[in-house]
């Protein structure tokens, strides 16, 4: 007894190719181009200069958001998995302190660990990553074991990590870092690290089991559990990975400033979340792409450089930045709705 497939497109019993559909990233990319174009046009009128035809400026645009970008990659995964991470900025500070304290040269009289100076660059790097990883693990364990909302768990870690960063040297900044360590933050290295991390996680999220599980948990946690995914374990792993990336961001930050300071990374978590959401990641989970986040990060970079370029006063920069965050997300939603109807 057969039932005919009245509405079926393509061969009966089979599935045809998916309809062509503009991917979400393309829409966000259009927003990016739009923003850049506005600055380009205004540039010609107001400054008499091209905004984009300036290699140095293009580099700075990405450079200044590389650290945010590295964090945002980790945060994107967490949001896709249905979580949130408010601790990234503080983890950046803590990592920056710890890794800087291990990257000091012996020339300096007041090293944090006088016996641990002139270490090869890899030591502070690895220790920094480990500190980040530890913070991420802490986030993950608290969330998995206690089932409290990630907002609260990571808020707690945010406050605590900042406290530990200040306590580490009692607020004293850490300077006189070795040249090889400073190398991590100089020239285009931060950009390369950011893009490398983004490429890696693009692949991981799209083509590995780790990625599939992340989306599945975000889309429907209990369904993921019934499908045989060890949800709690995966949750810990994803938060740990995000912590690791925050740690990397902390290393890059301290290498860039050639010093470690407890006030570093303030509010970076919000910029990273904003970048991810502007890039099309849904705060409800299950939806998002690293490519989108990269574009979201670039939008923030273009806006910052654009304002300086147009010599807009800092007050207006902040005012307009808030507006842009909202408008970018609204524009994205609007296009999405339009496309679907």
């Amino acid at each position: 007894m057969a039932i005919s497939n009245t509405g079926q497109i393509g061969k009966p019993g089979g599935l045809s190719l998916a309809k062509f559909r503009l991917p979400a990233e393309a829409r966000i990319f259009a927003v990016l181009l739009g923003v850049a174009a506005i600055f380009e046009i205004l540039g010609w009128f107001l400054v008499g200069q091209s905004f984009l035809a300036n290699k140095e400026r293009l580099l700075v645009m990405i450079l200044q958001v590389s650290v945010i970008g590295i964090i945002a990659v980790g945060v994107t995964q967490i949001i896709i998995m249905g979580g949130i991470d408010l601790s990234s900025g503080s983890v950046v500070a803590l990592t920056a302190m710890v890794s800087a304290s291990l990257a000091q040269t012996s020339e300096f009289g007041r090293a944090v660990f006088p016996s641990l100076t002139d270490l090869p660059m890899v030591v502070p790097l690895v220790c920094g990553l480990l500190v980040g990883l530890a913070c991420g693990l802490l986030n993950g364990f608290v969330i998995a074991k206690t089932a409290i909302p990630p907002f609260i768990a990571t808020l707690g870690v945010m406050v605590t990590a900042r406290g530990v960063a200040k306590w580490y040297t009692e607020g004293e900044p850490i300077s006189m870092l070795s040249d090889s360590y400073a190398e991590i933050g100089s020239g285009i290295t931060p950009v390369l690290i950011f893009l490398g991390v983004a490429a890696l996680f693009h692949i991981v999220l799209s083509y590995t089991r780790y990625g599939k599980y992340t989306y599945a948990i975000g889309a429907n946690r209990s369904a993921a559990r019934v499908s045989g995914i060890n949800v709690n374990k995966h949750l810990v792993v994803v938060y740990a990975v995000a912590g690791l990336l925050s740690g990397l961001a902390g290393v890059v930050t301290s290498a860039r400033a050639v010093s470690g300071q407890a006030g570093m990374g303030m509010m970076y978590e919000l910029d990273a979340i904003a970048a991810a959401v502007i890039g099309g990641t849904s705060l409800n989970g299950g939806l998002g792409k690293i490519t989108g986040t990269v574009i979201g990060v670039l939008i923030l970079g273009v806006v910052t450089s654009g304002f300086t370029f147009l010599r807009i006063d800092a007050y207006y920069q902040e005012i307009v930045k808030g507006v842009i965050i909202v408008v970018a997300v609204v524009a994205d939603q609007y296009r999405q709705r339009n496309r679907r109807s």
């Binding site: 009245t6 079926q8 045809s16 089991r209 889309a219």
Partner: protein, 485 residues
Amino acid sequence: MRKEFPGVVALDDASFCLRRGTVHALMGENGAGKSTLMKILAGVQPPDKGVFRLNGQDVALTSPLDALEKGIAMIHQELNLMPYMTVAENIWIRREPLNRLGLIDHGRMNRMTQELLQRLSIDVEADSLIRDLSISARQMVEIAKAVSYDSEVLIMDEPTSALTEHEVAHLFRIIKSLREQGKGIIYITHKMNELSEIADEVTVFRDGRYIGCMQTERLDRDEIIRMMVGREVTDMFPKEAAEIGDVVLAVNKLTLDGVFHDVSFELRRGEILGVAGLIGSGRSNVAETLFGVTPASSGSINIFGRDIRVSSPQVAMDHGMAFLTEDRKDTGCFLNLSILENMQIAVLNDEHMTAGFVRQQGITALCEEMSATLRVKAPGLYERVENLSGGNQQKVLIGRWLLTNPRILILDEPTRGIDVGAKAEIHRLISKLAGQGVAVIMISSELPEVLGMSDRVMVMHEGRVTGILDRSEADQVSIMQLAAH
């Protein structure tokens, strides 16, 4: 009426007419547009085109509030209650009685609720929280709420899908008394046997179109099915003979404290074990425990001759089990992921992986094949599951578990909310699997389904097994006796 959603025409030239003092049943396949039309009538969604008349006057509704004020109330297909509010607060939301200070008079509200519930003979306390009620009690609260509007037109979208026989009978009494008061009632259902009992007229929809309308006196079951599906559906429960083999699963005194106790049974290769019982008898909980979702507090599970501590779904899957849960939306689908992602999630084990990477081509081909076998109706594998009709979502989930090549398949309400055509198809598939030697546990609240499909029937009541019947000795009466105890 016409209504389009992105990519779907939900309603196309649909018409419908309800008479005062009658119960009008509305039938059609999943996705035929029944709920959509009702949502338009209740002001939840605006139509793209078309008008309707209420008491001879054209009306255009702007919001649910507008509909309520014009005398149209609706019980929605999904439950629409606020879990952390009391029964009274849920019923009288927006219409709370106020005292002289303009504050809400909770005492009076509770009394009003108690009166209403008494009048309808619904046995629920006015001040208990919704989250503390069973699903069926919640459904009765929804009914009480709809009745409390005292509206001219009352729309009920599959109100009985979560009710026990006892409560269905009670609901029918309520409906009949409303009919006597001269109200018009629209009643949507997939259950054929309810028609003759309650409906005066039946309208059938197919693919968003009006197909036909008839009086229930002249009702012909096959005729309606033909109108709904577009062809004859002859064999409703195509049970194939399967060779019953060795015991694959032996459950002994399985207990989950406070939920079910001392559940023991055996399951054999090629056998379909039906599980019957009233709603809330604990059948789903047993299934969840078997699959490791809620590990047992005591008792043993023996799979293929070995005692296994099933502590998580992974363990169950490692031993060849698969579990289709009863709630598609809550524990089944990844709504905003594609069909492909939904189907492949349970087979991302080492067989299809290289160093953590998914060998996508192979899996895609398998999924393609599976959806062809299951006749999933969709534009493509990359379509989001959210955009599929309920029946097709169900097929995708069945596909997910079939891809794991299970040796023990647990199906919890495999056809809940599924239309006649799709139902027959799913039944055929289950039989076929049993024929291939898969052992199947099928939990179902529909007796005809249990009777038609099972080799043996296990009946549960309040968390205990009250009997296991052979196919030969199982019938409506014997099962109901064990279920009600």
